[in-house]
């Protein structure tokens, strides 16, 4: 999709515009699934497990069934359908065994939410508590109890994944490039460290919610707060053995997703309730506490990196081992594992590499897709590692990165060659460094920090990510002309805040040469009406759907030109168009308007030609290959987006308290299609990254109870927690096959933020942190060389903070 149009030639792409979907949001008119009430609708509640691992001896639902107003009660035994995007390992409701705290065991649909809750409370489950396997290190021991003893009998996607039956390993992805042991022999320095991050939750402001109606003849209608209507339809149909045409998925406005709503979630459970309730629509909305425990989170990661560096500072070889604690079910985690394996070294050239990336089962809420798809997690370790290497070899951290950065001609871990169009990581690093004055601390900066007893630290970190997606990922956009010459686009890429619809409107407007006001992107998605899109994940939307939108516009124009050629008695090649219609290039007064063509053209005598103008654009990922299962070799990436953050912090060397003074984020977006939307993604993701860096993280006790399933103790950033100064910048190395040269940045802004913080804190005070989050206490401990607190799986039985309601609840067990 080459378009070398200079910014000055473009009217809409690259310009400041409003979003196409804000008005509904600021007026309260936008309807989310959580707002919907349907006639005859029932309300669902779920009985969840208080144990991390237990055998279910019996489930007594008799009291619930007998309750007035209860219309359906379902337990695991009645729903023997296995779910699994990549590995079919999950029951809709736990059948013989519960595998994590908060797992669903039974569900009720009733006339009101209250009755449903009372019924759930009246269900009695007899558990035989078992010793849970909590730490991935314990899960991979030879004699560890198996979370999935039947792993060998599960269906799985063989082209991409390798589960190891008889173990707790759901997948092992490998990269073998060159000879890493030889590289270590030749290296001047070897630096080997381990880095960890806990699980975190997406925390969309709208929790997971779905309404499902299982109608006659197995026609299922689903309304869900979901990112990917077609994937939801597909997985649903496959799981229940239904033809695709039977399943209709509608997605209206979505209150945030961040990957947590990427695939299939609670819909199957709600569906079986509807079926059991004689086809009445059933609605389930997760409470915030359920969002943290019943619904999935992001896998924990332990990342071991060993790097061999030559005398001149060039990396010769790197061995990388990732242990992904995916919790009780594989879900997306196996693909996170795989996607991270081929990206594991960051935007740097590693001539000899060895990667083992394991997905490990444990008895905890499971990890699903999360913004960054593994990259936020492993870049923490990786970018900390780059600084620690630089320190060990006596080189400046930025210089070390620039020396090893991927450049045109470099080879990636999978053997892909970087070209001058791939993107420019060095430019991003240099720009970020410049924006924070990296390498110097001004007197003014010093004085300001000293006023509160703090010391300044600065850092620059790099990042990269390519969409992790099937090699055949595709999408379609349909563009219909309306009677008045405006257009409406239909697609099932969803926009839950990214601003992609606005960018697509800009591109369509550009192509059709009409003002954006004349372009409508139909907001809600409906799989009965709108064409296929794979998923709204992976930062691929702008690229694939942008191309599809351009192709749809071109297709519409081709048809319109064909009709116009007849009417103007010319060849199409002699025609051109503006926003109002098509004209003869050499006699512009000879024209026919889009209005006249929109639904078919009528000659003055009544004869008609043409017909309704509908453009169809379909785009499929070009040239991607499967990866060799042994070596990881192949071409998995349609594009790489590079970026960098510069950060300035002020740290109190006595107490560990710190302020983030400034963050400057730079991304090579190819072309910044919408400057304000770019900024919105850049800042939003950076703050989300800062949250996971400073304070977010699941905390369990040693029995696997989640101790912080609410905002009381699972904090996220507020307006007070943003850096004092925030800057963003777009480098523009055009993506030759991207729409107007653009590539996506949706996930990238969250990546490496934590490492920037860890590096800056070390720069300021020497405190060396290799685990996350970096709370004040963690900094203090590192400063004083005290043992790090295991604030992930804690030793105390119930975490002992008696104020939080959820802790009090468990104290009664």
């Amino acid at each position: 999709m080459l378009d070398t149009a200079a910014a000055s030639e473009l009217k809409y792409v690259g310009k400041v515009t409003r979003r196409v979907d804000t008005i509904e949001k600021v007026t309260g008119q936008a309807m989310y699934v959580s707002d919907m009430i349907l006639p005859g609708m029932l309300y669902a509640r779920v009985k969840t497990s208080p144990h991390a691992r237990a055998r279910i001896r019996s489930v007594d639902v008799s009291a619930a069934v007998a309750m007035q107003g209860v219309r359906a009660v379902v337990t695991g035994k009645e729903v023997p359908f296995k779910l699994g995007l990549y590995v079919e390992d999950k029951d809709i409701l736990a059948r013989d065994e519960v595998r994590h705290f908060g797992e669903g065991v039974a569900a009720v649909a009733a006339d009101t939410l209250e009755i449903a809750q009372k019924a759930v409370d009246a269900i009695v489950v007899d558990y035989e508590e078992l010793e849970p396997v909590l730490h991935p290190r314990d899960a991979v021991k030879k004699d560890a109890a198996l979370i999935h003893p039947d792993l060998g009998s599960y269906g799985f996607m063989e082209s991409a994944f390798t589960p190891i039956p008889g173990t707790n390993i759901a997948n092992l992805s490998k990269v073998r490039k060159g000879d890493v042991e030889k590289a270590f022999e030749e290296a001047e320095w070897i630096i080997e460290r381990e880095y960890t991050n806990p699980s975190v939750q997406h925390v969309p402001m709208e929790t997971h919610v779905a309404i499902v109606q299982w109608g006659q003849n197995d026609n299922v209608h689903i309304w869900s707060s979901a990112q990917s209507p077609y994937t939801l339809r597909n997985l649903f149909a496959l799981s229940f053995g239904l033809p695709h045409r039977n399943v209709r998925v509608e997605v209206p406005y979505v209150g945030g997703g961040f990957g947590g709503k990427a695939g299939i979630g609670i819909e199957p459970l709600v569906a079986v309730l509807s079926k059991a309730a004689k086809g009445r629509p059933v609605k389930f909305m997760a409470t915030r506490e359920e969002e943290f425990s019943l619904l999935p989170c992001r896998s924990q990661l332990t990342y071991q990196i060993k790097t061999g560096v030559a005398k001149d500072g060039k990396i010769l070889g790197q061995k990388m081992t990732m242990w992904w604690d995916a919790g009780a079910y594989a879900d997306y985690a196996v693909n996170v594992t795989r996607a991270s394996s081929f990206s594991a070294a960051g935007p740097y050239e590693i001539p000899n590499a060895w990667v083992d990336s394991y997905t490990v089962y444990t008895n905890k809420p499971f990890g699903t897709a999360y913004r960054g798809f593994g990259h936020v997690e492993f870049h923490w370790g990786l970018e900390r590692h780059m600084d620690l290497i630089a320190e060990a070899i006596g080189m400046d951290a930025l210089e070390f990165r620039l020396k090893n950065a991927l450049k045109p001609g470099s080879a990636t871990l999978t053997g892909e060659t970087i070209t001058e169009h791939t993107g420019n990581i060095s430019a991003c690093l240099k720009k970020a460094a410049e924006m924070v004055g990296y390498g110097t601390v001004t007197e003014e900066e010093k004085a300001k920090a000293a006023a509160s007893g703090k010391k300044i630290g600065k850092s620059v970190v790099g990042l990269h990510k390519a969409p992790a997606m099937p090699s055949f990922t595709a999408t379609t956009v349909i563009l219909k002309m309306n009677e008045d010459g405006t257009v409406t686009a239909n697609l099932t890429l969803t926009d839950y805040g990214q601003g992609t619809y606005t960018a697509l409107a800009q591109m369509i407007a550009e192509r059709l040469r009409m003002p954006m006001e004349r372009v409508k992107i139909a907001f809600e998605s409906d799989t009965d009406r709108d064409p296929y899109d794979w998923q709204t994940v992976a930062s691929k939307g702008l690229l694939l759907s942008g191309n599809a939108a351009i192709l749809a516009a071109d297709d519409l124009l081709e048809k319109a030109y064909g009709d116009a050629a007849q009417i103007l008695r010319a060849i199409p090649q002699d025609l051109d168009h503006d926003g109002d219609g098509i004209f003869l290039r050499h006699r512009a007064d000879q024209r026919v308007s889009f209005r006249q063509l929109a639904i078919g053209y009528a000659y003055p005598n009544g004869n008609a030609i043409g017909g309704p103008l509908v453009g169809v654009g379909r785009y499929i990922a070009q040239g991607l290959t499967n990866l060799d299962k042994e070596t990881g070799a192949g071409h998995p990436a349609i594009d790489w987006t590079y970026g960098a953050h510069g950060m300035i912090v002020a740290v109190d060397p006595k107490t560990g308290e710190y302020d983030v003074l400034k963050v400057a984020s730079v991304f090579d977006a190819g072309r910044v299609v919408n400057p304000d939307a770019f900024r919105g993604q850049a800042i939003g993701g950076m703050i989300q990254g800062l949250g996971t860096a400073t304070v977010e993280g699941y905390i369990y006790d040693d029995k696997g109870h989640l101790l912080n399933p609410s905002f009381t103790d699972n904090k996220i950033p507020t307006a007070k927690d943003i850096p004092f100064e925030i800057e963003t910048f777009g480098v523009e190395t055009p993506q030759v096959d991207g729409p107007y040269g653009a590539r996506g940045i949706a996930e990238h802004s969250m990546i490496s933020v934590a490492a920037a913080l860890g590096n800056a804190i070390q720069d300021a005070t020497g405190a060396e942190l290799t685990h996350m989050p970096l709370r004040f206490e963690d900094v203090w401990r590192a400063l004083n060389r005290k043992e790090a607190v295991d604030n992930w799986i804690t030793k105390s039985p119930y975490g002992s903070c008696k104020s939080a309601p959820e802790i009090q609840k468990h104290a009664c067990d």
């Binding site: 905390i699 904090k715 927690d721 206490e777 607190v789 804690t794 903070c801 309601p805 009090q808 609840k809």
Partner: protein
């Protein structure tokens, strides 16, 4: 979602107290509801009745007089406290502690009395009211009693309130008016958070008074120190008297350290 309870809104104190005389043990008294409805929603308490005090005019009173001091009625919200000029003037640490409490929206409902009645070890108002010598006034159908803050809270979320009693107000005497003071609260984020540990302190020519929150089941009130006391003496006394725990928010070790740090900061600043 809240369980099925019935709602009552008496218009006089007498009405309220008579109701409690009959239904006390089954009734939750509230004004702001910002603690009560959270625990009801979590299923931890299931009162049959909730009694809304906001209809009782005298409980909404907030007044300062040089003779009595500051009288804070049961229904006075944190924001009302912050807006009352005498608070910042006479008892600045009350103002600072109030500003640190939750969010603006919550402060439009949460009350000073509610905060001490909840008696969470993390409560922001307890420590300052302790060291300012607040006296808690309780009434029931059978009479009235007053006792100092020090005797009011007995443990984690426990007070001496009887089922038929209402705390009608707290009186902060003028004894410590205008005493410079400060409130330091350790949080995990800059935004709203429960206190991981907190220190309130006032310095007066008569004495230095200090209370520590989130470091024991109840706020810890240090003995009075002379105005020229050394920082180290106060710190070591504090470390001796507090008994912080390890929990999901922080370790006892860090809490202890930060108590010392806060005492140092306050002593330098005040």
């Amino acid at each position: 979602m809240l369980h099925d309870f019935s709602y009552h809104r008496p218009e006089t104190l007498e009405e309220a107290l008579n109701f409690l005389a009959q239904h006390g043990p089954d009734t939750a008294v509230f004004s702001g509801g910002t603690d009560l409805f959270v625990v009801i929603r979590a299923g931890l308490v299931k009162p049959v009745h909730v009694l809304d005090l906001k209809g009782i005019a005298e409980l909404r009173e907030l007044k300062w007089s040089a003779s009595e001091g500051l009288s804070i009625g049961a229904c006075v919200t944190i924001n009302e406290l912050l807006e009352y000029p005498h608070v910042k003037k006479e008892f600045p640490i009350l103002h600072t502690a109030g500003e640190e409490l939750a969010t603006f929206q919550l402060r439009n409902r949460a009350t000073v009395i509610g905060n001490i009645v909840t008696a969470s070890p993390c409560g922001d108002m307890s420590g300052p009211l302790y060291i300012l010598g607040g006296d808690v006034v309780l009434q029931s159908a059978s009479g009235e009693r007053t006792l100092p803050m020090g005797k009011f809270i007995t443990g984690v979320k426990q007070t001496i309130i009887q089922p038929d009693e209402i705390v009608t107000r707290i009186i902060v005497p003028p004894t410590w008016a205008r005493a410079p003071g400060g409130y330091e609260k350790l949080k995990r984020i800059k935004g709203h958070d429960l206190g991981v540990v907190s220190v309130s302190m006032i310095k007066h020519k008569k004495a230095i008074r200090c209370a520590i929150g989130s470091a024991a089941p109840k706020p810890v009130l240090l003995p009075d120190f002379p105005a020229d006391a050394a920082v180290e003496d106060i710190k070591s006394k504090a470390q001796e008297m507090i008994s912080p725990i390890d929990d999901v928010r922080a370790t006892a070790e860090y809490r202890t350290f930060m108590v010392g740090e806060f005492i140092t900061r306050l002593m330098e600043r005040i």
